[in-house]
């Protein structure tokens, strides 16, 4: 993975920069010692590491602005970081850049239940928001599997999803406002407690911008009333085709479950061995379907889903009779990644989305690739929205296996694009899929995205080297070339 060449002058200036930043971070902190900085050298994508020049931990929006203004004046790069749980290397440090950790901005500023929202700082964890309002019957809907650790600022930057986004949407559908600091140190508020954007939906485009447009210092999240009742069904199938057909049949019948997850044989066996969730071991595919709403509705829906499953040839079917049982159904799915960690020294988690109808074809092709690469694979799948998480099993102690796993992963993502899907459903591009952007987008497409970057950060100081395969100067991107051959309008009256 090639990152922009570090600027030697900046690296040589480390002591002076540290002294200046210490002065700006009155209530925050600066991490200078190498052994302490080491804790920040990677995020959830641990295959990539780099030692940050310094780690700044501001404690207020004013301090964030001061650090950004300082870096802007000096031309120093910034890598924003929440909890560092990114699976795409979004918070991978730069050797000549300041890692800007937002964890000290960790207060819930306001809970406004009548307006069904909460105003929180970026370092608040995803789950802490729900914890703060659950006694009043509310919750925050997006639930990435790292929700105990990941922070809302990172969720906004990555537009995080979770198992419930089929019904409730991604982060972008569940926030009302953000405060961001631009590289110049200017503070801009987008949205608020009201609904729609007044002008351009810049909040919409900052969401999922992977820390390249601005630093998020405050988020207003939408709160939803907790559903009265929740139930899960677990259906086993003899083939992944039958399971895929069942998903299509449920959606075709007009039912949008809260979540609909699929696991393949390898994932089922690993999960069962790890947590003993009671999964059937003689099936090729397992569906876990969660429905929520009034109890009367769940009685009605669970029978319909059971029937639809039967019509698609389900070989096992159970419905949770208690919350404990529901959580047991989920335990294996939620522990799928660590469970794979038990049967393989390392695994590499992919994140493409495909049209659901292509699932059998894609699973078949991945099986072929697995043989060809000589690496095992297990699949967990947000079946409702077509978001695949193939886990490639490898051993980093065997020379060349990591590279092989990466090559395998790239081939899977290319396949996702080939069948009409996309490179990433919820983990982000980061550094991981950066060099594959060309499989989905032309240079002209990417130039339009990069010009938006230029509108926010013309010097490419924020998180450079992520998302875009090639860094191009904004002045060059801004030039308008209109070639000869264009028709003109000589006959128009002009005033």
């Amino acid at each position: 993975m090639k990152m922009p060449a570090p600027d030697q002058a900046t690296m040589g200036d480390r002591r002076r920069i540290a002294r200046d930043l210490r002065r700006l971070l009155v209530s925050g902190a600066l991490i200078e010692e190498e052994d302490e900085r080491r804790a920040y050298e990677s995020d959830g994508l641990t295959a990539y590491r780099a030692m940050p020049l310094l780690v700044a931990l501001p404690a207020t929006t004013a301090e964030v602005a001061a650090v950004l203004r300082y870096c802007h004046d000096k031309g120093i790069k910034i890598v924003p970081r929440g909890a560092g749980t990114s699976l795409s290397g979004g918070a991978l440090p730069l050797e000549d850049g300041i890692t800007l950790g937002l964890r000290k901005l960790s207060r819930i500023l306001e809970i406004d239940l009548p307006n069904r929202c909460a105003v929180v700082q970026p370092g608040v964890t995803n789950l802490a928001i729900t914890r703060a309002v659950e006694a009043d019957g509310f919750y925050y809907a997006p639930d990435p599997s790292s929700q105990v650790a990941c922070t809302i600022g990172g969720n906004v930057a990555e537009n995080s999803g979770g198992v419930h986004c089929l019904k409730y949407g991604l982060t972008t559908n569940n926030i009302l406002g953000v405060e961001i600091v631009l590289t110049t140190g200017e503070i801009v508020r987008l949205g608020g407690k009201h609904g729609d954007a007044g002008g351009y939906d810049l909040m919409g485009v900052v969401t999922g911008s992977e820390g390249l447009l601005g630093v998020i210092t405050e988020v207003t999240v939408k709160l939803l009333p907790r559903p009265e009742d929740v139930r899960a069904l677990m259906l086993g199938f003899a083939t992944s085709e039958a399971a895929g057909a069942c998903v299509a049949a449920i959606i075709g019948a007009g039912i949008i479950p809260a979540g609909m997850e699929m696991m393949d044989r390898a994932a089922i066996h690993a999960a069962e061995a790890f947590v003993h969730a009671g999964y059937p071991l003689d099936v090729e595919a397992l569906l876990i379907i969660e429905i929520d709403g009034p109890t009367a509705e769940l009685d009605h829906l669970s029978i319909r889903i059971e029937e639809l499953g039967g019509g698609c040839g389900s070989v096992t079917c159970s419905t949770s009779r208690s919350d404990a049982e529901r959580l047991k159904f989920w335990a294996g799915r939620k522990a799928a990644f660590p469970a794979i960690g038990q049967i393989s020294p390392d695994y590499y988690c992919m994140d493409g989305t495909i049209p659901r109808g292509q699932l059998p074809h894609v699973l078949h092709r991945m099986g072929e690739m697995s043989k060809r690469f000589g690496l095992r694979i297990a699949n967990v799948f947000h079946a409702g929205d077509g978001n695949l998480h193939p886990l490639i099993l490898y051993d980093s102690n065997i020379p060349g296996e990591l590279e092989l796993a990466e090559e395998f992963g790239s081939e899977i993502l290319r396949l996702c694009v080939e069948v009409g899907g996309v490179l990433t459903g919820e983990h982000g591009v980061g550094v991981e899929k950066r060099d594959l952007m060309g499989t989905m987008f032309t240079d002209v497409d990417l130039d339009h995205q990069m010009r938006l970057k230029c509108a926010f950060d013309p010097e490419h100081l924020l998180n450079p080297g992520k998302v875009f395969p090639q860094l191009r100067r904004c002045a060059e991107l801004g030039r308008v070339h209109i070639h000869a051959g264009a028709h003109r309008f000589p006959d128009l009256p002009r005033f």
Binding site: P114, R116, G137, N159, V188, R189, L190, G192, K193, H194, G195, D196, G198, Y200, D201, L202, V205, T207, P225, R226, P227, E228, G254, I256, G293, P294, A296, E297, H300, T353, P355, R356, G357, D385, G386, N387, G420, G421, V422, T424, G425, E426, M437, M440, F441, D445, H448, Q449, L452, K453, A455, F456, V480, I482, A486, H487, F489, L492, P493, R494
Partner: protein, 397 residues
């Protein structure tokens, strides 16, 4: 004004490229039903997208539809109905309100980002807009997003296009998320409530796990206009399977009894009333009055309306939207409306107003200086020559 009407992507590209080469401003329109929103565009050319029409692919089980941007909304809705699906954001038809003709298009619905009462449960058009192909003001064809329901690859430019009123790029092809149409609907009506208790009752209802899919309040005169009794009406729509709707209606009625007398509208009456709310029918009459669309915190509606005794309005989106009609004034009531909104936060968009008022005033909410500067840079990044709907949203861009 000369009209250009491309009927292929290639032709569209040619036309925009030519206009850019000549620095010729264009007024971009789909069916032309919302040309009266925003500042009048001072253009020599009209770019009419209605010829770029038709559904390209529709995969009901993938919940995805791709169509040319100029596809009439009725065509989209008819195709979806055949599979028991719909556009969950309830795109409004504003022809009666705006006194316009033409055919509302899919591209127009996305470009304006308006949404009907279901906004509170399903979001606005921006929440259903998955990807697009189009031509920027640079005269270059580009695409963004994807054709699947879950995607975070690259910047979410669909969000930026939604509500940009054709000022950044001309959309040619769009992909949207579609959803199953609910089997049944009913409305719990609480009668006789003034704004403050109505907002309180609405807040109570929306804090309950009833999945209310429309929460609106009408004053007596407007209630009568949509076919209800001549008394203020709080309307709470419930949608879903038969048993769910019946159960929730009972639960909600019990919860709201203390606020006032309750009645229930069944499927057909619910559809009729909510279609009128979606289309802002209660404010359609008397075109001399200026109509504002106010986005504000959900509980602010009562205080906001109380500060404007001359105005008449109804509340939608669970309190987060006020549709307001104000008597004729030189600025269309802009100063008063925005002063009343200021303490609450939010924004006010003049949706219907005289052309000279719109030209001289600021129909879109003025932005704070750093945000205006950023907005101008975003505009310039897509349309550096200012050829697409210049001045429609803001005078300077």
């Amino acid at each position: 004004m000369q009209t250009l009407a491309p009927d292929s992507e290639a032709e569209l590209l040619d036309m925009v490229r030519a206009a850019a080469a000549d620095r010729t401003p264009m007024a971009v329109q789909g069916g032309g039903t919302r040309q009266g929103v925003g500042r009048p565009v001072d253009a020599l050319l009209r770019l009419d997208l209605s010829g770029l029409a038709g559904i390209r692919s529709y995969e009901p089980q993938e919940l995805v539809l791709t169509a040319w941007a100029g596809t009439p909304m009725v065509e989209v809705e008819a195709a979806l109905e055949g599979w028991g699906q719909h556009l969950a954001f309830e795109p409004p038809d504003l022809r009666a309100l705006l006194g316009s003709r033409g055919t509302p298009t899919l591209g127009g619905a996305l470009g304006s980002n308006f949404a009907g009462p279901r906004r509170i449960l399903a979001g606005a058009s921006r929440d259903h807009f998955l990807g697009f192909a189009g031509v920027s003001g640079r005269g270059e064809a580009f695409k963004a997003g994807g054709k699947v329901v879950k995607n975070v690859t690259g910047y979410d430019l669909s969000k930026l296009m939604a509500g940009s009123w054709g000022t950044l790029a001309v959309l040619s092809e769009v992909t949207i998320k579609v959803l199953p149409r609910p089997e049944r609907a009913c409305t719990v009506v609480v009668s006789g409530l003034d704004t403050a208790p109505a907002v309180a009752a609405m807040t109570t209802a929306l804090a309950a796990p009833a999945e209310v899919s429309g929460a609106s309040w009408l004053p007596a005169r407007m209630a009568a206009l949509v076919g209800l009794a001549m008394e203020p009406a709080l309307l709470l729509r419930l949608e879903g399977s038969g048993p769910a709707v019946a159960w929730r209606a009972r639960a909600l009625s019990a919860m709201l009894e203390r606020y006032g007398p309750i009645s229930v509208l069944e499927d057909e009456a619910t559809a009729a009333v909510f279609q009128q709310l979606r289309d802002v029918a209660p404010l359609a009459a008397d075109p001399s009055r200026t109509v504002w669309r106010i986005s504000l915190p959900p509980t602010a509606g009562a205080a906001f309306l109380a500060a404007l005794p001359q105005a008449e309005g109804f509340i939608d989106h669970g309190g987060a939207l006020v549709w307001l009609s104000v008597p004729d004034a030189p600025d269309g009531g802009a100063a008063q409306v925005r002063a009343a909104l200021e303490p609450h936060g939010g924004h006010a968009l003049m949706v219907r107003g005289a052309a000279d008022v719109r030209a001289q005033g600021e129909p879109f909410q003025p932005l704070a200086a750093p945000l205006m500067a950023l907005t101008a840079r975003v505009k310039a990044s897509f349309d550096p020559l200012g050829v697409l709907n210049p001045g429609r949203m803001y005078r300077q861009i």
